[in-house]
């Protein structure tokens, strides 16, 4: 029932992402896989990255004027978006702060870690599907790192 949009600016320097768009998406996929430890499927036909364990995907990649924009379905998956932001900022990107774009949640900062370091309780909650455009059980996520 909607999409989440995230945008990162890379300035004049394109960061360390390849100039070719398909290669850039593949690089982001590899880095996301390395950061999370989760399998990331690169669907080149639709330029989408599927993350099956999270039941989510990143699609609609647009590379315009040193800016990278990507979408996912609502609601934003906290683990996926926190780690995507970690990957994009590590690549030299600066997150766009416009109101309707995705912004990190300080309460979810501790999710920027490998999947297998999260507690079983958190992994269970993060695997749950969304419900009517919301993730009501995310409020039960642990408040401290396991």
């Amino acid at each position: 029932m909607g999409v989440i949009v995230g945008t990162w600016h890379f300035g004049e320097a394109p960061g360390d992402l390849p100039g070719d768009e398909s290669s850039a998406i593949a690089t982001i996929a590899r880095r996301l896989e390395a950061a999370t430890g989760l399998r990331v499927e690169n669907q080149q036909e639709y330029r989408a990255l599927r993350i099956p364990p999270l039941r989510d995907e990143l699609f609609g990649w647009a590379f315009i004027d040193h800016t990278v924009t990507v979408h996912s379905f609502i609601p934003a998956h906290p683990y996926l978006w926190e780690n995507l932001d970690a990957v994009m900022t590590a690549a030299g990107g600066r997150r766009d702060t416009e109101a309707h774009l995705w912004q990190p949640n300080p309460a979810h900062a501790r999710l920027r870690t490998r999947w297998d370091t999260l507690s079983p309780h958190d992994r269970f909650l993060l695997r749950m599907p969304s419900l009517l455009g919301g993730r009501p059980f995310d409020r039960l996520l642990s408040e401290t790192a396991s």
């Binding site: 029932m1 999409v3 609609g60 924009t69 009517l132």
Partner: protein, 316 residues
């Protein structure tokens, strides 16, 4: 519920005992892997009514209420579409749908099939003009059918023509539906094609979100596999829809909500300005996709079932 037929029962024919007993609405007779269902009405005293009724009042009542609700939903969509013709059709659908819905409620309440006031009124008028009982009954049913199914059928035919003519039309509106999965909701976007180019918008973000252009646009290389439904519209409708798009974009950030604003309500608003009737039940991406493509047909089927069910009540 129901009683099992004895081994020597003929398929689907209740025994004398079963005929005489007060029963619940449905009886099942099973023999040689075949199932026959006989539904018999009964009144509050538990006695089976004789007469022309062959279907229980409660079953028909539910069908009437469902058919009436579908008519009201399509009528509300037609009334919200700012063209004189659709608004008149919408009023007829809402009024007849409410009549059918109330008849359904009365059927369930009394457990006897009740006809709509439209049917009764038309039958009474025909009788007054000298028609026989049977002819008056048929005229009443016919009037009921025309009032309920007529506007839905007209909207359905117009919709088919608009979809069929979209390929060659210079102005058209396109609805994009992105499927997500059986349990989770997908996404909608809307595009207006004018002068050979299509401008796409969608509602993006949540807290807050806003109406922005779709990048990459549906149908472009590398875009997600959107399902597109295109409808031909007039130049005037395209202008109104484009104005609606600009107005929605100018609203700026808004908090996303399940019943709007969201991607589906954004598309609905543009479609209404383009003169496209959308049933009121099209409140999610999938239901909007369904409503655009077969909404009027669903209403025709529901409305017909309600009228035919009501007609089974015979004259009273």
């Amino acid at each position: 519920m129901g009683q099992r037929g004895r081994p020597d029962d003929r398929l689907g024919v209740p025994t004398k005992r079963q005929k005489n007993e007060a029963t619940t609405a449905a009886c099942f007779f099973l023999r040689n892997n075949a199932v026959a269902v006989t539904v018999r009405p009964h009144n509050k005293a538990g006695l089976t009514r004789s007469g022309t009724d062959t279907v229980g009042g409660r079953v028909v009542g539910v069908i009437q209420m469902a058919g009436g609700a579908l008519e009201i939903a399509l009528g509300a969509g037609a009334f919200a579409t700012p063209t004189g013709v659709t608004q008149v059709g919408g009023v007829i659908l809402i009024a007849h749908g409410a009549d059918t819905f109330i008849a359904g409620f009365r059927s369930i309440w009394s457990d006897q099939v009740q006809q709509s006031f439209t049917q009764q009124g038309a039958a009474a008028a025909a009788k007054k003009l000298g028609a026989s009982d049977v002819a008056a009954q048929r005229i009443g049913t016919g009037a009921d059918l025309v009032a309920g199914v007529g506007p839905s059928l007209t909207i359905g035919v117009m919709r088919r023509l608009a979809i069929a003519g979209a390929g060659s039309a210079s102005e058209r509106v396109a609805v994009a539906y992105l499927h997500r999965g059986a349990l989770e909701m997908g996404h909608n976007a809307v595009g207006i094609r004018q002068g050979g180019t299509t401008a796409w918008i969608h509602f993006a973000g949540m807290n807050p979100g806003r109406v922005i252009p779709v990048i990459p646009p549906p149908g472009a290389a590398g875009a997600q596999p959107y399902i597109l439904t295109e409808l031909a519209i007039t130049t005037e409708q395209a202008g109104q829809a484009t104005a609606a798009m600009h107005r929605l974009r100018a609203l700026g950030p808004q908090e996303w909500a399940l019943f709007g604003p969201n991607c589906t309500t954004t598309v609905r608003e543009v479609l209404q300005q383009a003169g496209i009737v959308v049933p009121a039940w099209s409140q999610s991406p999938f239901l909007l996709h369904l409503g655009i493509n077969v909404g009027p047909e669903i209403t025709v089927v529901g409305g017909t079932a309600a009228v035919v069910g009501g007609a089974s009540g015979g004259s009273r």
